[in-house]
């Protein structure tokens, strides 16, 4: 359910960058999310459709790139996935294991349409 708060922030971030870029419309968001970030894509999508309505980003497609969680064993230099992790390295049984990948939680880029000329809006 924290996806509601996440989606609010995602919209704010998107609109800020879209306005700075002088966009008239946002068509797509490219998100990179690692397995160690616990969010549900469908849930973000659900909130997004409600919240982005009536904004520059209405109807924008959410493109999720999921990065699998990976561990690295310093003992035998092996990488392995979250599913194989049972407290030690599946190859050598060593315990010098640390996170190698999957921490991402980023809005990498947005795709926009519009002149590209930033027109500052008068304060209302």
């Amino acid at each position: 359910m924290h996806e509601l708060g996440i989606t609010e922030q995602l919209l704010e971030l998107t609109l800020r960058h879209a306005e700075e870029a002088g966009a008239e419309r946002v068509t797509r968001l490219n998100l990179v999310i690692g397995e160690f970030s616990s969010v549900v894509d469908e849930s973000i999508q659900f909130y997004w459709e409600m919240m982005a309505e009536d904004t520059l980003a209405a109807g924008a497609e959410l493109n999720f790139t999921r990065v699998p969680g990976r561990f690295h064993c310093a003992g035998c230099d092996t990488d392995f996935g979250l599913a194989e992790f049972e407290g030690c390295c599946p190859a050598c049984g060593g315990v010098e294991v640390s996170v190698a990948d999957g921490k991402q939680f980023q809005l990498e880029s947005i795709e926009v349409e519009g002149s590209g000329v930033h027109v500052p809006q008068p304060e209302s």
Binding site: M1, H2, G5, I6, Q9, L10, E12, L13, T14, H17, A18, A21, A23, E24, T27, R28, L31, E35, F36, S37, S38, V39, G69, F71, L82, F85, E86, G87, C88, V95, V97, S98, V99, K103, F105, Q106, L107, E108, S109, I110, E111, V112, E113, G114, S115, G116
Partner: protein, 230 residues
């Protein structure tokens, strides 16, 4: 229609929250307040730990708490110990975010606090996504929850600076492999401080209190270097 073009963002999705967390951090640093974000499942022992901690430290340190909850049950319990405590009504929300904490800060006199305990909403998933601008994220896991929790909730355990394993008095009756549990946490989070405790019997709590005393001292020293008393 003009052709679409790509605009580079490369920012954390929670950058709005993180910016507010940065402001909180600056205020706490200026005031020399050491703050923790206490997270656990419902029933993990957050309030019990706060009560134990207040009882042990209130003669030496000035403590205060903020509690993210929907009802003031825990706030009332903590208030019986005579420390300032503020409820952040989360309205059923599953976590605290930096904005909620920032809203509560003006209700506290930061100049009269050494240790601020932020009690998060009982939940092992959602609070992990939100930086609250505190010094340490403290996660309580408890023996009856099972030793597989770091493997099931890696995001929560990855953000922990301190891990308390509560209810160790249950180890005698539970199949809980402490080494397996601990290895899971350490792989996710190198250098995490680990304290096996029992809020019921008091076992292991002295080490936790000592850790807190040390952190508070270090924070005060840092603040007085930054802004020496005239």
């Amino acid at each position: 229609m003009s052709p679409s073009r790509k605009v580079k963002v490369e920012e954390s999705i929670t950058s709005a929250n993180d910016a507010i967390a940065g402001q909180i951090r600056a205020r706490l640093d200026d005031a020399g307040v050491f703050a923790i974000n206490l997270m656990a499942s419902p029933g993990g022992g957050k309030t019990s730990l706060i009560l134990r901690t207040v009882d042990a430290l209130k003669d030496d340190l000035r403590l205060a708490a903020v509690d993210g909850d929907v009802v003031p049950v825990d706030v009332d319990k903590i208030a019986t110990r005579g420390i300032p405590v503020e409820l952040i009504n989360t309205g059923g929300n599953c976590h605290l975010d930096a904005n909620m904490v920032q809203t509560a800060l003006p209700r506290l006199d930061l100049t009269a606090i050494d240790l601020l305990i932020v009690e998060n909403v009982g939940n092992l998933i959602c609070p992990a996504s939100f930086d609250l601008g505190v010094d340490a994220n403290v996660v309580i896991a408890s023996v009856p929850e099972g030793d597989d929790k770091p493997y099931k909730y890696p995001a929560m355990f990855r953000g922990a600076d301190v891990l308390l394993l509560n209810k160790v008095d249950y180890l005698a009756v539970e199949d809980f492999d402490v080494d397996y549990f601990r290895r899971g946490v350490e792989a996710l989070n190198e250098g995490v401080a680990f304290f096996p405790i029992s809020c019921r019997t008091g076992e292991g709590l002295e080490a936790w209190f000592d850790w807190l005393r040390g952190q508070v001292r270090a924070k005060r020293a840092q603040a007085s270097v930054a802004a020496p008393l005239s």
